[in-house]
Amino acid sequence: MLDMKTDLKRFHEDGQFFDTHYNELLEKYPERWVAVFYKEVVGTDTDFHRLLDDLKSQGFPLSRMIIKQVTAKKVKWFLPVR
């Protein structure tokens, strides 16, 4: 059975891997969505939804993965204001 605490630690480490290797990922996979699992790039695509479908068909647990876009663009987020 999955130990959620241990897995959250692994999720955190995958996130750290993504962040610390961001520039390398950007060079290798510019403007693509990148999926990381156990500190390995397991999929990339220019289309987020297609990447999800591809990963799911390969049996990856999407709910436990880091999937982020690597982009050179500066992104500004907005706040949810009601």
Binding site: S63, Q69, W77, R82
Partner: protein
């Protein structure tokens, strides 16, 4: 104490994040892992469209089954949300909240991160110091032990 971290996305002002586990029993979601941007400007906690997209695909959730939430307004326009009762696992703590889920739009890449809003942050004292790389959510007894006035 819940420990978060800074994402080195902006060398001049790295945003603070914390990881959490999300359970949404009514749609069978257990242990969805997500990064939340700590956002003191957000009144409610929000599951961003990329995390929502992962959830929808992995658990084969039909968002149409969920209650329609209040639309959120931002500089890019109005976005639709769904509202669910969720349990947020932060370290050893579990917090029941009404979670807004941002609806992913087909054909449009997701753009909004998950946000930890004041409905959750109000349970903690928030300590954010980039100089020492500390992002801490302190529980009341821990905050009371600080000699700050």
């Amino acid at each position: 104490m819940i420990r978060g971290y800074f994402l080195p996305t902006d060398p001049e002002a790295s945003p603070p994040y914390v990881n959490a586990l999300i359970d949404i029993p009514e749609i069978g979601v257990v242990g969805l892992e997500a990064r939340f941007l700590i956002d003191t400007g957000a009144d409610r906690t929000l599951l961003g469209d990329d995390d929502a997209g992962r959830m929808l695909r992995d658990y084969e959730v039909d968002l149409g089954r969920l209650d329609v939430g209040i639309p959120s307004q931002g500089i890019r326009g109005v976005v639709m949300t769904r509202e669910v009762q969720a349990t947020l696992g932060l370290g050893d703590l579990s917090i029941r909240i009404s979670l807004d889920v941002l609806e992913p739009i087909s054909g449009r890449p997701p753009s909004i991160p998950s946000l930890l809003g004041r409905d959750v942050l109000s349970h903690f004292a928030l300590f954010v110091e980039e100089r020492t790389n500390r992002v801490l959510l302190l529980e009341p007894d821990e905050a009371d032990r600080l000699e700050l006035e």
